[in-house]
Symmetry: C2
Subunit: 703 residues, 2 copies
Amino acid sequence: MKNFLAVAILIASAIQPTGLYADEGMWTFDNPPRKQWKERYNFDPSQAWLDHVRLASVRLNDGGSGAFVSATGLLMTNQHVASGQLQKVSTKEKDYTRDGFYAATQADELKCPDLEVNVLVSYEDMSRRVQGAVKPGISDKEANEQRKSEIAKIEKESTDKTGLRSEVVTLYSGGEYWLYGFKKYTDIRLVFAAEEQIGFFGGDYDNFTYPRYDLDVAFFRVYENGQPAKTEYFKWSASGAADKEFVVLPGNPGSTNRLLTVAQLHYQREVGNPLQMKVWTSRRDALARFAERGAEQARRAGPASRSFENSIKRLIGQQEGLRNPRMMAKKEAEEKALRDEIARRPELQKGYGGAWDEIAAAYRDYPEMARRIAFSTLTPSRVDLFGTPFGNPISRQATIAAAIVRYADETRKPNNQRYGEFRDSNLESFRFSLLSRAPIYPDMEEHLLAAWLEEAQKTLGANDPFVRAALAGSTPAAAAKRAVSGTRLADVDARKALIEGGADAVAKSDDPMIVLARNVEPVTRELRAWLEEKIQSVETSAGQKLAEARFAVYGKSVYPDATFSLRLSYGRVLGYEEDTTLVPYKTTFYGLYDRARSFDEKPPYDLPKRYREGKDKLDLSTPLNFVYTADTIGGNSGSPVINRNAEIVGLNFDSNIQKLPNRYWHVEENEGGRAVAVHSAAIIEALKKLYGAEKLVSEILGH
Amino acid sequence: MKNFLAVAILIASAIQPTGLYADEGMWTFDNPPRKQWKERYNFDPSQAWLDHVRLASVRLNDGGSGAFVSATGLLMTNQHVASGQLQKVSTKEKDYTRDGFYAATQADELKCPDLEVNVLVSYEDMSRRVQGAVKPGISDKEANEQRKSEIAKIEKESTDKTGLRSEVVTLYSGGEYWLYGFKKYTDIRLVFAAEEQIGFFGGDYDNFTYPRYDLDVAFFRVYENGQPAKTEYFKWSASGAADKEFVVLPGNPGSTNRLLTVAQLHYQREVGNPLQMKVWTSRRDALARFAERGAEQARRAGPASRSFENSIKRLIGQQEGLRNPRMMAKKEAEEKALRDEIARRPELQKGYGGAWDEIAAAYRDYPEMARRIAFSTLTPSRVDLFGTPFGNPISRQATIAAAIVRYADETRKPNNQRYGEFRDSNLESFRFSLLSRAPIYPDMEEHLLAAWLEEAQKTLGANDPFVRAALAGSTPAAAAKRAVSGTRLADVDARKALIEGGADAVAKSDDPMIVLARNVEPVTRELRAWLEEKIQSVETSAGQKLAEARFAVYGKSVYPDATFSLRLSYGRVLGYEEDTTLVPYKTTFYGLYDRARSFDEKPPYDLPKRYREGKDKLDLSTPLNFVYTADTIGGNSGSPVINRNAEIVGLNFDSNIQKLPNRYWHVEENEGGRAVAVHSAAIIEALKKLYGAEKLVSEILGH
């Protein structure tokens, strides 16, 4: 019943009606939305402003964004972005996820085992070079290989020349290629984390909910050569976010699919999303069963459980969007308008007019293969991706084994023929992650691996090639037990030995986890080849045509889909209407205590002791969270919310439920979609009054 | 998106899943839901318990319910139920609606001009007598007259014998007739009222909203012979409403339409509700234009404006229900099930099977007449009723004039042939209301009367009989000016003289308001006759058949539609799921301050001075409002919420938006429909700490 009263109720005169601005887009730094900024907000920043913002913004390779907030490497992000590292530095005795953490001195800061942080220091347009490398008249598959080869070359040259982590980023579905150079930090230490119970107050229920009352904040410090790194940084706003204020959000939105064709959206709705849901719910349920064994098991399963609940809830919201006939009709109308315009112009029709049908044709065989592709792996991530060592592994050791086996195969090939993640430019980061000393819990690994293999067997059948290769005649439980109990991969030196021993050492290894990974590797490779040839190469070729068609019709007034690289979003701080009432632009600490007491402080609405007992120390009217219209998505977690002076007014950590379909299209301001942030004032108030973190506050405020 | 995650999200273990109880029904005291109470809540009250509850419960004839809370006539109800009287005892200088009121001593209590309070002291089944009075084989119209005549006789006999206000109440659409005897109080004095801004915090936006933060409370004292009346009363619970607690709600639900046939529901959806909306929005808009003239005009228009906003919002919610295909399909399935069952049993089919078609046939001509019926009156109430002097008059003087003209015509007839409201048993209450000394504002009367006549002219056309009779050749503005500027009806003695002068005095009167009322009376009477003959008599005859059919199939396990007479509702205190999160069973004062601060205290989220400045005196964790599953509707405002010991745990004042379609059917517990109450603890906390009303608190708590 959202907004059904919008026409029937007069807006109270003291509260302005929401406008119809579209604060849309996740814009690259080479193409900021200057026109919109100028027209809507009278904002016209200098290049120095843009450079400053870019250099003070970071990407955390655990999957999130952050901001430098002092000249000596202090980095602010969300508690939930930090949660993977928090769990890795915690033990049964010291649970920093539960209890929070504060290092009163630099000596107390805790080194993170495998966190890498990137700062975008250079960018260069390589579209002509990559697109020009494709010879005319060849197949999509060959074109794909030629592009990949050229990309590998560019990245290698850049790494050799600059020493930067160099990535060619594909934008506009292949319409543009940009070489991004990242300064990379790997010595990252934990300075502060709020208790999970306040970072994630209300748990999964209140996730994607607003009004909201979370202090989802953590601080790291970035070191270089054993010393705090000297960093460009954001100053802190004295007052924080105000009603209707214009804000900018630099950050790394993970992935959107706004340039998908209607045929691709139908595939997502009918096949892709339901399959993704099946994978995630089966993995969540396996974690839940493990967590039931006891408190320590629940602690170990915690971050992954939270992550899956989050993903599932987001997926449901996205799928609701695809199922909404009104929203889909709008998407169909947009596609039709572009196709009609192309058809009217023969020169465009000739070059680009067939792209939609090419994609539709390619997708015809996809549903049949999709289940195999989703389950035929030891390292499932999103169902359409392979090989990322990040995210929530089923078993860290299985992930390590798969990575070692693949590394051995790939690094024998010339650089430009490898899988992207094994190109020379990525190997340093790959090794950093592979050789992490983060703890491994064999009981959890065995439980989850067995559950995964069982699910694969149930879904694909006993005669499926992956299932046969993984089980080798035994049961899922037995196969998991054999692999986990016999493996030596918990030992970092054992991993190093295999990597350094090369293909031969890997081929000869009798480590049962390596054996398992070796057995399934051919199946995984075959499916990846199918996916690249039949789907991805067509998507890239057709995507480039669609991008060029769009540029031809609309100019570069559009922004590319998100790619977990640095972008600028913007908007204004703004409440909205829901059902028949108003949702305020901000919440306060009063609301935190109201919500806790309203549930008699039963979980997930219980408060950390510090908050329960420290209530009277706080000014309860301090703003706690707020909402704004900026276009964000997962990956933007931890993005600073800044004002026109590039001062921090908040810390982005979530979206409301109305906004979730924005994977596929921008959710309009009057549809109630909003991003949610921690207010800057709440961070200072809590650090000072509840955590006694005066020193940290002084550093932030620059006193 | 309500509840769309219900299947996807595991309920947090500490919070119990909502059950599927149906705490349905507004039960008469002769037929309490003993079976459900016993089975679901192990509650089996004595007859003494029921009698006690009945005698401590009251009906306020302004439209609402209340409860005695001391042995000396202290009566608790909502501030919004009291608001009509508050406005009548306020002046430009002393605005008790805005500022609230507290009489520290009995001498300070303010006498209300025209509030009548009824207590149900006796009830007797008269079904056989009324139904038996109808001779077989006559027309619906004749049957209707015979029933009405018998009802008049019963009421007269009772009044003469008992001195009680005696009403024959029609239940189950004519399935039963009960003689209710009310003890009547008319000397009612104001003891306490909260400021409207806290009684109605969040204004129309937060009306029908939950979570909610309103102290919607007022106290009157009932006097008899100039002394506080000795009354049966409810004790106060020490702890107030708790999570999952069983509660009972005695009160006077105004009107439901749950026994309507599908044909009648279609009429409501397509014709009745849109027409009602037109009437109410035009009247609201006229009030808004008047209020714009200044602060004093806004004060005068206040209660009626609030009442129309409330009615409109409720109507929208009801209409949403009728437009919901899933809900209507359920209703259609229910009707089909009963019709099929009747059809299977020849003896039932013969007697009752035709009733649905009779109603459908009668309704065929209704749409055409409905607009005339709605607008051809000087005293519009609901569009399908005439003649009630209550509610929000267009002009009090026009209402008085119409009542006098009608009184003169009706009282010439024998008692059993009169309109119901002029039967002898009702005349004392009628005179009390007619001779009220409540203030009259001629500027407002003229403005609203002109607006109403203009709307009638626009809707019905210049040649319509009512429009011609009302305007008599002039414009709406001129007609209104002539009537209001010339009338002497503001003088109570002038009214008395006309009433006492009888038909002759009324016929000869040259008072221009009386002339206006006389002119339109024939049109109004003609339409009322049409409605009674063509619609209501068919509804009653067919309704009796349907009721008997229902009794035959289901037994008396059903409850009658609401009739603004005393009923028992019940349920349990219970939160619910909304969107993807949990809504708590209660709120606290923390939440009040959060919501005010979240909007920077902009109206309608500003706080009364007392609350702004007295915050630190309050225990903010005190429960403020709570929700529960009881079946309620407008008229239940002011009902006490009591526990199994008949102690007050709360004060009912609203429903949430999910519950509004319950005019037509019971909204299930898992659909999130809830009644909303002020928590008993909040009343005590505020009276003590903010209002210094220690004496009132002592009386309530019995110290």
